[in-house]
């Protein structure tokens, strides 16, 4: 348990830069702003000085250039920093990168990774706190990875890099200092393979990214109350491991979906729809979604706490499904 999420990601980046001359990095804030993590980042960039581009504040231009470079044979790793900065580059990511393969009938490829940080520091407020994974999911042509642990961050980043498709790496800020074991050497986590992070028989909680940790915390609380929760970590949204979700729901008959994005047309909505369409007969209770409500993120940490999808809210949703509180 001695490697942090940030270190794990950095380890993979370092390996990729060592292995493959086509790897280049754009952007300098992959690890947020803590002094310790900035020092880590500096080690990497000093080692690979010629391979790291520090761009001006030009998200559209930089993403467009990264896509052009990817079309022309490089494999760029683009750190956009705060997830909402991707909105500046929307036209490039969703309309150039995502369309390239299909639009060319499979002749052009954009093997680029776009790293985005969801969540926000205290006081960040509406413009810097976004978790737009569902917005990207609404664009065919983008792979989306949402790791929760250092090992998955390391392994999924490698798989994303080796993929010939554009990949969105959603990294919640609160994960950066989470520690865990990372297999040594080259580590790959396949896309489209969810992992049951905790096995249980009463209620399935489907989660990803930071919500996996909140779901596990909720499961601990609930275990003390005699409720046995299974936590399914999606790990990638595109491709999605439908089978893992359906298998778990077939076992428990109850589903809570937790996501740090917004409620409407969100990740949780999509999972709920899939289960309603394909496993209706397995369900013993309605599906519950625990997400950010359709409200901007307030700057006040106190007010933010009201809206955030917390472990307590997940636990509450689970209790409502097993009848310990009224539905």
């Amino acid at each position: 348990m001695n490697t942090t999420f940030a270190e794990a990601m950095l380890g993979t980046l370092d390996q990729l830069l060592d292995e493959d001359q086509r790897a280049v990095i754009f952007g300098s804030v992959w690890l947020g702003f803590s002094p310790a993590r900035l020092a880590l980042w500096q080690q990497l960039t000093e080692k690979h000085r010629e391979r790291v581009y520090y761009p001006p504040i030009s998200e559209a231009g930089v993403c467009g250039a990264a896509i052009g470079a990817a079309l022309n044979g490089l494999r760029p790793l683009v750190g956009l920093g705060t997830a909402s900065f991707a909105f500046q580059a929307w036209a490039q990511i969703v309309n150039e990168a995502a369309n390239a393969y299909y639009m060319s009938a499979g002749q052009s490829r954009v093997p680029a990774v776009f790293h985005l940080m969801a969540g926000g520091r205290d006081g960040a407020g509406p413009q810097h706190v976004h978790a737009p994974q569902s917005a990207f999911w609404n664009t065919p042509g983008l792979e989306i990875i949402v790791p929760a642990t250092p090992a998955d961050a390391a392994g999924l980043l490698r798989t994303a890099y080796e993929s010939d498709n554009p990949t969105i790496f959603m990294n919640h800020l609160d994960l950066l200092d989470v520690a865990g074991d990372v297999p040594p050497g080259v580590h790959r986590v396949p896309f489209g393979r969810a992992e049951v992070k905790r096995s249980g028989g009463d209620v399935t909680v489907v989660a990803s990214s930071i919500m996996v940790h909140r779901a596990l915390a909720a499961a601990e609380q609930l275990a003390a109350e005699g409720i046995d929760v299974e936590v399914v970590d999606l790990r990638t949204l595109v491709p999605l491991d439908r089978d893992a979700i359906l298998t778990s729901v077939a076992k428990t008959g109850r589903l809570v979906v937790a996501d740090d994005g917004r409620l409407s047309c969100g990740v949780a909505s999509e999972i709920a729809a899939i289960v309603a369409e394909e496993a209706f007969e397995s369900l013993k209770a309605p599906i519950r979604r625990v997400t950010m409500p359709d409200v901007p993120a307030p700057a006040s940490p106190l007010l933010m706490k009201q809206l955030e999808p917390t472990a307590e809210k997940i636990a509450g949703a689970v209790r409502s499904l097993v009848g310990t509180i009224p539905i």
């Binding site: 250039a65 896509i67 009938a105």
Partner: protein, 329 residues
């Protein structure tokens, strides 16, 4: 140039017959930009065009039949009808992606130039775009990147709005900028700029040739503004053959030039202009021009037959994989 002209005339005719989905955006009147520019490119160089791309793609050596088939959204097109007339791509010619989103090709070309510089093989990248592109923000971001990172990219701005700078002139407002001098912007970034008559084949060749050389040897971006006077048939929302099928004899017999649109035909048509120039310098004869025209017409006739007789894509083509390496989703 003649191939582009006859090809586009065929596209307009096919559209009138209801065979072109949507409305085509043609290159008539700008042939003297794509053709001489392309002559300076080598294999391995990349180029990025826009919604007005047929001329660039033909000048780069694409097969007219397969391009026309793509415009007609047929299965034999370069991209099986998935790209259509606004997004054809053919990586084997360095045409990696054709974006119909204004100014995005400038961003992509900048990145392709970065990749070329990174590899160090002397390859360059060229972006072709209209003057309206300067109305978009990503244009400026891209030029800044090219300037600070010294990228081997040539920006060729095809200004076809000389009569149309803003609504004020009452023309179709393809360019609405607060400046009349487009080159002020790239010049402010320290990018070498040149304005050239876009109907003058040799002038374009000299200007783009110098820019390509600058990119290849010293790795610096350039901006060439090639000014053309918009072909009257493109003034409308969709093109119409208002000047008829081009009668090359107008180049040597001015009596044949009709009164309507006569000014454009006499002074601004790059194809007729080049014919006049070559005839006056006695580099070619009337017979040679006519023979060339006949042969080009045959090529285009063949392309039309090929495209029109080509099958539509089978319905399952709609589910062409969205991702490399796997099917579905």
């Amino acid at each position: 140039m003649l191939l582009i002209r006859r090809f586009e005339e065929a596209v307009i005719t096919l559209r009138a017959q209801g065979l072109v989905p949507g409305h085509p955006i043609v290159y008539i009147g700008q042939e003297a930009i794509a053709v001489p520019a392309m002559a300076h490119l080598r294999p391995g160089d990349t180029l990025f065009s826009t919604h007005r791309n047929h001329g660039h793609i033909l000048a780069r050596g694409a097969d007219p039949g397969r391009l026309l088939a793509e415009i007609l959204c047929r299965d034999t097109g370069y991209n099986r009808g998935l790209a259509g007339q606004m997004h054809p791509s053919m990586p084997e010619l360095g045409i990696l992606q054709t974006s119909a989103i204004v100014a995005n090709p400038v961003a992509l070309a900048t990145g392709a130039a970065l990749a070329a510089k990174y590899r160090g093989g002397g390859e360059i990248s060229v972006a072709f775009f209209g003057d309206g592109c300067l109305e978009e923000g990503v244009f400026y971001e891209s030029l800044n990147l090219a300037a600070i990172w010294k990228l081997p990219v040539v920006y060729v701005c095809e200004n076809n709005s000389l009569e149309a700078l803003g609504y004020a002139s009452g023309e179709y407002p393809s360019s609405t900028l607060a400046t009349g001098r487009l080159t002020d912007f790239p010049a402010a970034y320290g990018i070498t700029v040149e304005v050239v008559d876009g109907a003058d084949t040799l002038a374009v060749s000299r200007s783009v040739g110098a820019a390509v050389e600058r990119a290849r040897t010293v790795g610096q971006p350039s901006f060439v503004e090639a000014r053309t006077v918009r072909w009257p048939g493109s003034r409308l929302l969709w093109p119409q053959l208002v000047t008829g099928e081009t009668n090359l004899a107008m180049a040597w017999d001015s009596a044949l030039i009709p009164e309507q649109h006569g000014d454009w035909l006499a002074q601004h048509d790059p194809v007729l202009g080049l014919c006049r120039e070559l005839l006056s310098s006695q580099e070619v004869t009337l017979t040679e021009i006519s023979a060339l025209d006949e042969s080009v017409k045959q090529t285009v006739d063949w392309a039309v037959r090929f495209a029109v007789e080509s099958p539509e894509p089978v319905p399952d083509t709609a589910y062409f994989p969205v991702f490399a390496g796997r099917r579905g989703q």
